[in-house]
Amino acid sequence: MSIKIELNDQTMIAYLNGEIDHHTATDIRTDIDIRVEGSHPNLLILDFTNVSFMDSSGIGLVMGRYKLMKDIGGNLKIVNPSPQIRKVMSLAGIDRLAIIEKSRPCKRSDYFDKK
């Protein structure tokens, strides 16, 4: 599992890469939280394009980041989860909490130019 985080103005994008389970979730959470708490973005985007697997540990990760963003007055967006990941997310009702986009903005400019 690896993660790349970019910040442009008030939008932070976390590109997640690999598998999210109990073993990997802690490191992802720590990496994101340090960056969010350091720069207080308005919007946090979790990009799932390159996530090949997620179990309910990922639910805890997403809900925790949702809460963190709410606490600082921001929003959370989830981009391009696979059908398996969407199925896990829907069990927790994440589709009712955060915006889930199916589209595939895979380039950095796809996010920032639309602002």
Partner: protein, 143 residues
């Protein structure tokens, strides 16, 4: 009738979560499952193994016993067993969003995921003796 079976023992280290779900999914690949079926199996196994690591052996490293079987032509059976602390209140543990974990970010959805992704979930637990999770699923018949 058992057509084939596989047994696996692993220490309850979180680094084995990925190995366990991939090993079980690989064993069932001989049935030529769909991508969705493989995802369902991997997710359910990951939940059960994680429960043994996080809860069963919360303060120690113990052994997790995995037994996977092919019954008939397309029915799969997976048993995941630990000899950990056991579950205090099984009915409560099965409730969606219930978790005993005060720290960290456990969603309390492990059993809900197993129930949703497999046809049948059976849990037997005894305080101080351990927990056994049995998962069964009938795969789509391939022509």
């Amino acid at each position: 009738m058992i057509k084939n079976e596989m047994k696996l023992q692993i220490p309850s280290k979180s680094s084995n979560e990925s190995f366990a779900r991939i090993a079980v999914a690989s064993f069932f690949s001989q049935l030529d499952p769909t991508v969705d079926e493989i995802s369902d199996i991997k997710t359910a196994v990951s939940e059960a193994v994680t429960n043994s690591i996080v809860h069963g052996y919360a303060n120690e490293i113990g052994t997790i016993f995995i037994h996977a079987k092919i019954i008939d032509d397309n029915k799969i059976y997976i048993r995941i067993r630990d000899k950990g602390c056991g579950i205090d209140d099984l009915d409560q543990a099965m409730e969606p969003m219930f978790t005993t974990c005060k720290t960290g970010e456990r969603s309390g959805l492990g059993f809900t995921v197993m129930q949703s992704f497999m046809d049948r979930l059976r849990v037997i637990s005894k305080k101080g003796k351990g927990t056994t999770v049995t998962l069964t699923k009938r795969l789509r018949k391939r022509i």
